[in-house]
């Protein structure tokens, strides 16, 4: 299909314009993170020199390193937990035919209608009573079970031929071994998609870490940003932006690497 030159020019124009607008907030923040306060006050757009002063400053003044580490540990924990729990459930829904399966599946669907915010008060009390305030398990365990991830993997497991399961049964291979040695390797890409998605959402979590931690030793980066923003009396924007850029770099890299897979995975999980 060929396209007229006029139409091409128009499209590129629209694409460039919209991309500039969408990307502007991020771009401005990135530029500001290299600027001195004076440059920011005078409304410069491009920094006069590439100075990492703000980055050094933000690490010195805030326990940002600790926050980054906490976020990393909590996000990895949630990611792994979700992968294990969701893949086990998805396996049961696809490969084990038992009475009551449909009912349980319906209950799984129903869980999607309960917003976490609606049950956050007792959850906070549960974590407190377990003595899990200020702990990694307190940050992570409430998010291990996940209907969306189960659906996504169920979709993928369904594509594995039933004959394979029958053959393995005849060969005397148990369910758990079949799950580990056949199903998981085949579903590698879906697992990866879910992992990326789980990591992204956990890294960006805001309300729960705010409640479940009170001690700097367990605070996460999102709380760090809140602290950075409220303590710096809005004058040292360069430092604040440097902090924000550090926080978004891991997720942006992950997104760029996994964009295609993520898009496929999310669309599949959502629509089939």
């Amino acid at each position: 299909m060929t396209m007229s030159v006029k139409r091409k020019v128009l499209l590129y124009l629209l694409l460039t314009l919209t991309a500039c607008i969408v990307f502007a907030p991020t771009f401005i923040a990135l530029m500001m993170s290299f600027m001195t306060s004076q440059e920011i006050m005078t409304g410069q757009i491009i920094p006069s020199s590439l100075s990492f002063e703000n980055y050094l400053e933000v690490f010195q003044r805030f326990p940002l390193m600790r926050y980054l580490l906490n976020s990393l540990v909590a996000s990895l924990l949630i990611m792994l937990g979700q992968l294990i729990v969701a893949s086990l459930s998805a396996y049961a829904f696809v490969f084990i035919d038992f009475k009551g399966r449909d009912l349980i599946f319906f209950i799984f669907i129903a869980t999607m209608m309960v917003p976490f915010e609606a049950s956050i008060i007792p959850n906070f009390h549960t974590i407190r009573d377990l003595n899990w305030i200020n702990s990694y398990q307190g940050l992570a365990v409430p998010f291990f079970a996940m209907a969306f991830g189960t659906f996504l993997l169920r979709q993928n497991f369904k594509q594995i031929p039933k004959e394979l399961k029958e053959a393995s049964e005849i060969a005397g291979i148990g369910d758990f071994k079949f799950f580990l040695t056949v199903v998981l390797p085949v579903a590698k890409t879906s697992l990866l998609t879910l992992a990326v998605y789980g990591f992204l959402t956990s890294w960006n979590m805001y309300l729960w870490p705010l409640l479940a931690t009170t001690d700097d030793r367990y605070r996460t980066v999102q709380f760090g940003l809140r602290q950075l923003q409220s303590q710096e009396q809005l004058n040292e924007w360069g430092i604040i932006m440097a902090g924000a850029i550090i926080v978004v770099i891991p997720t942006l890299i992950l997104l760029f690497l996994g964009q295609k897979k993520l898009q496929q995975g999310l669309t599949e999980g959502a629509l089939k």
């Binding site: 499209l11 694409l15 460039t16 919209t18 969408v22 990307f23 907030p25 991020t26 401005i28 923040a29 500001m32 920011i40 006050m41 086990l88 459930s89 396996y91 049961a92 084990i96 035919d97 038992f98 009475k99 009551g100 399966r101 349980i104 209950i107 799984f108 999607m112 917003p115 915010e117 609606a118 049950s119 956050i120 008060i121 007792p122 906070f124 365990v141 369910d175 992204l200 890294w203 960006n204 805001y206 309300l207 705010l210 980066v221 709380f223 940003l225 950075l228 932006m241 924000a244 926080v247 978004v248 997720t251 942006l252 997104l255 760029f256 964009q259 898009q263 496929q264 669309t267 629509l271």
Partner: protein, 312 residues
């Protein structure tokens, strides 16, 4: 199974039944074993807390969250006579009204643009999707600056164009709109990615035959693209709706519910009531209200969606 059963003696027949029954039991136990982690976790962190929230909503509690006085429906009745909660409801509905259509229209436009087969389109796609990788807290910091009364870009641009500057986050007239604009931006990346996926799964053949018939670009958009995209649109609308009702981070970072409670969205209101005022009973009533709204919305959309949506 039947054929063999006929030639078996009665005793053996019973054995077969027993074996089948046993096999069923084994399968059931196996299934439950695989589902156990999910069931335990859902029970502990979803079903129990939901029940407990309903329970607490009929009580007043002490500071540590234990129920003290049974008050029946009073917490609920108080909600609907409290001017602050009514204001928070109004703010929430306005916020939904701004952000859902805003997010859908903008990301649909971007997805249609980015679905063209052009050189370098990948760069544009990545730029549009980028906001998905930016956390609510970081995005709020970015927008906090853009909304800044004197050095922020938005007011700079307004002034350059000869308008008066606006107190984006401090003027009660503008604060909710400002938060909504930043929220639409935060939502874009995710909705864009999903919609692009939906567009890409539409069969090219449909467009090719429409081209041969000489159908115009906008005719194709209306008669092919939008109907074929309807399951995706439907999903994205539901998700955006639910997200809008659950908004918290940007409110906490940008306005703390102010000015004059104009941006006190429902989750922020729950947070304040529960974790700042320690009024867990009334806060639970609000949480249950939120739950019912989301439940109804999802059910209505499922019902409507079933009829209107065009599935392949």
């Amino acid at each position: 199974m039947k054929d063999t059963a006929v030639i078996l003696s009665d005793e053996k027949q019973i054995d077969v039944f027993k074996a089948v029954k046993k096999q069923k039991l084994v399968r059931f136990l196996k299934g439950m074993l695989f589902l156990m982690p999910s069931i335990v976790l859902f029970s502990l962190f979803l079903f129990y807390p939901l029940g407990r929230t309903i329970y607490l909503s009929f009580f007043l509690t002490d500071g540590s969250g234990d129920p003290t006085v049974f008050v029946g429906w009073e917490n609920y009745l108080n909600l609907f006579t409290s001017p602050i909660f009514l204001k928070s409801l109004r703010a929430t509905f306005l916020f939904v009204l701004y952000t859902v259509p805003g997010t859908i229209l903008v990301s649909l436009f971007l997805a249609i643009l980015a679905n063209e087969k052009l050189k370098g389109i990948g760069i544009f796609r990545t730029m549009y999707a980028s906001t998905m990788g930016i956390s609510v807290a970081a995005a709020s910091v970015f927008w906090m600056f853009l909304f800044h009364p004197t050095i922020g870009w938005l007011n700079q641009i307004l002034q350059a164009l000869g308008f008066n500057s606006i107190g984006w986050l401090t003027d009660p007239q503008w604060a909710l709109l400002a938060v909504s604009i930043s929220t639409i931006w935060m939502n874009l990346g995710f909705t864009f990615l999903i919609m692009l996926g939906g567009l890409q799964s539409i069969d090219r053949y449909l467009y090719e035959s429409a081209d041969i018939d000489g159908a115009s670009y906008f005719y194709q958009l209306r008669r092919i693209t939008l109907p074929m995209l309807s399951p995706t649109l439907f999903f994205v609308i539901t998700v955006t709706f639910i997200n809008a009702f659950q908004t918290f981070g940007q409110i906490d970072m940008l306005t703390r519910g102010g000015p004059q409670n104009e941006t006190q969205l429902i989750v922020y209101s729950i947070y304040q009531e529960a974790f700042m005022n320690y009024q867990f009973g009334p806060a639970s009533a609000q949480a249950i209200f939120l739950f019912i709204v989301i439940l109804l919305l999802t059910l209505i959309q499922f019902k409507l969606g079933e009829r209107k949506v065009h599935y392949q």
